[in-house]
C-alpha cells in the first residue's frame, strides 16, 4: 500500500467522492463559526472594529501562498512520476489560489484605508502579493492557451518551477526596495508578542475553515477536470470531434 495508489483516477474519484461531503460540511461549519465568532470579538483598543477584517484577510493570504506551494508539489509529482491526477489538481488549484490572492488584496485594501489612510501602498508584502497574483494569471492563461493536455501540463509544470524561484526572489527583492507599513508576523509560536487569545482562537478556526474550503473546492474542481478528460476520451473513442 503506497500513497501513489491514490494517483489512480478511479481510486481518487472513489475516495474523494466519499470524503467530499464531510470536507464541505467541515468547511461550512468552521468558516461560518469562525467568521461569526470573529465578528463578535470586542473592538481593538487602537484599530476599533476594523480589526475584524483580519479573520478573512489572514487566512486568505495564507491559503494564497500555500496554494502555490501545493501547485509546485503537484507539478513536481507530475513531472517526475507522470500521474495525471496530480497535473489536473495543479490546474484545478490555480483559480482558487488566484481568488484567495484577490481576497487578501481586496480585504487588505479595505483594512488599509481606515488604518493607514490609504487603499494601496507599495509595501513589500502588498507588492509581492500583487506579483503572486500576476504569476497566477500567467499560469492560468498558459493552461488555457495550450491545446494538447499533456503538453499543457508539462509547460505549466516548468513555468510553475521557474515561477516559484522568481516569486521567492521577488518577495525578498522588494524588501530591499521599500520599507513598508505592513506589520510582521503576529502568530509565531515562540514570540512573546502574540496577539490576545480573544482574537487568536477565532482566527485559528477561520484558518481551518478556509483550508477546508480550499480543499473542498480543489476536490470538486479536480473531479470535474477528471470527468472532462473522461468525456473527451469517450468522444475520441466514438470518433466524434
Amino acid at each position: 500500500m503506497s500513497i501513489w495508489e491514490y494517483a489512480n483516477p478511479v481510486k481518487f474519484m472513489r475516495i474523494s467522492g466519499a470524503a467530499l461531503p464531510w470536507v464541505v460540511a467541515g468547511a461550512a461549519i468552521c468558516t461560518l463559526a469562525g467568521l461569526i465568532w470573529g465578528f463578535l470579538t470586542p473592538p481593538d483598543y487602537k484599530q476599533g472594529a476594523s480589526v475584524k477584517i483580519m479573520f478573512l484577510h489572514v487566512p486568505a493570504a495564507m491559503m494564497a501562498i500555500n496554494c502555490w506551494l501545493m501547485m509546485l508539489v503537484a507539478s513536481l509529482i507530475w513531472i517526475i512520476r507522470r500521474h495525471h491526477v496530480s497535473a489536473l489538481a495543479a490546474k484545478a488549484a490555480a483559480p482558487i489560489g488566484a481568488a484567495m490572492t484577490l481576497i487578501a488584496l481586496v480585504t487588505g485594501a479595505a483594512w488599509g484605508q481606515p488604518t493607514w489612510g490609504t487603499w494601496w501602498e507599495w509595501d513589500p508584502r502588498l507588492t509581492s502579493f500583487l506579483i503572486l497574483f500576476l504569476f497566477y494569471l500567467g499560469y492560468i492563461a498558459l493552461w488555457e492557451a495550450v491545446e494538447n493536455p499533456d503538453s499543457a501540463a508539462d509547460l505549466t509544470g516548468v513555468l510553475c518551477l521557474v515561477g516559484s524561484v522568481f516569486a521567492i526572489l521577488s518577495r525578498y527583492a522588494v524588501n530591499f526596495w521599500n520599507q513598508g507599513l505592513h506589520q510582521g508576523a503576529s502568530l509565531s509560536v515562540a514570540s512573546g508578542e502574540r496577539m490576545s487569545a480573544v482574537y487568536r482562537y477565532p482566527l485559528y478556526l477561520c484558518m481551518v475553515g478556509l483550508f477546508l474550503l480550499f480543499l473542498s473546492l480543489l476536490l470538486i474542481r479536480t473531479r470535474t477536470e477528471i470527468r472532462i478528460r473522461r468525456t473527451a476520451a469517450l468522444q475520441a473513442r466514438e470518433g466524434r470531434p
Binding site: L134, G138, A141, A145, L155, S170, F176
Partner: protein
C-alpha cells in the same frame, strides 16, 4: 564548451539573420527612443521631475524594448523547421538556447546599453548616474534576454503567443528591474550602489546557469 564550432556557427547565423533586412534589428532601439520621447509629454517637461524619474523610465523602457523582440528568438526557427534540426543536432539543446539568448542580447540588449546614456540626456539623468546606468544595464540585460528566451520557448508552439509571452515574462523581470533602477537611483543621489549591483549580478548569473535547462525542456515539449 564555449568553443564548440556548432555553437559559434549558430551564433553567427542568428546575428546575420537579425541584422539583415526584415530581421528587426534596431526596432528595439527605436522603441526605446519613442518611450523616452513620450514620457516628457506625459509628465511635463520640468527638468527636476524628469531627472528624478529618469532611472525608472530608462530601465522600464529598456525592459519593454527587450520584450518587443522576444518572440523572434524561436518562432521563425519553429515555423521553418530549423528548431527540429537544432534539437537533433550534435550539440545540447540547452547550449543552443543559451546561444540564441546571447544572440538576442547582442542584437537587442547591447545596443540598448550603448544608447542609454544618450537617452538619459533626453530625460535629464544626472551625469554622475550615467556610469551606474551603463553598468546596471550591462549586468541586467543578459538576464532579460535569457528569461525572455524561456518565455519564448514556452509559447513557441502557440498560434497567438505574443500577449501570453508578455504576461509570463514580465513578472520574472521584477527582481532585475528593481535592482537595476535602484542602482541608478543610488548613483544619481551620490550614494553607494554596490549592493544592488551585486544582487543584480547574482540574479543574472543564476538565470544564465539555470534557465537554459528550463527553456530547453519547454522546447522539447513543444516539439513533441
Amino acid at each position: 564548451m564555449p568553443g564548440h564550432p556548432a555553437m559559434i556557427a549558430l551564433l553567427l547565423r542568428d546575428l546575420k539573420l537579425a541584422t539583415r533586412a526584415g530581421g528587426g534589428f534596431g526596432l528595439g532601439l527605436a522603441f526605446f527612443l519613442i518611450v523616452c520621447t513620450l514620457v516628457p509629454f506625459g509628465v511635463g517637461p520640468q527638468a527636476e521631475m524628469l531627472s528624478r524619474i529618469a532611472p525608472g523610465i530608462l530601465w522600464v523602457g529598456a525592459l519593454l524594448a527587450c520584450l518587443l523582440s522576444l518572440d523572434r528568438i524561436f518562432a521563425l526557427d519553429f515555423e521553418d523547421g530549423s528548431l527540429d534540426l537544432l534539437a537533433t543536432a550534435p550539440m545540447p539543446l540547452e547550449g543552443a538556447v543559451a546561444v540564441k539568448a546571447a544572440a538576442h542580447w547582442i542584437t537587442t540588449g547591447l545596443p540598448l546599453v550603448l544608447a542609454a546614456p544618450l537617452f538619459g540626456m533626453l530625460l535629464h539623468l544626472p551625469a554622475r548616474a550615467v556610469p551606474y546606468l551603463l553598468i546596471s544595464l550591462l549586468i541586467g540585460t543578459p538576464a532579460l534576454s535569457m528569461l525572455g528566451a524561456f518565455g519564448a520557448a514556452i509559447t513557441v508552439g502557440l498560434r497567438r503567443g505574443g500577449l501570453l509571452l508578455s504576461l509570463l515574462v514580465l513578472p520574472l523581470y521584477v527582481p532585475t528591474l528593481l535592482f537595476g533602477a535602484e542602482a541608478v537611483r543610488r548613483g544619481a543621489a551620490g550614494m553607494d550602489a554596490t549592493t544592488p549591483l551585486v544582487f543584480q549580478a547574482a540574479i543574472t548569473l543564476l538565470t544564465c546557469a539555470l534557465i537554459p535547462f528550463a527553456a530547453a525542456a519547454a522546447i522539447r515539449i513543444n516539439l513533441r
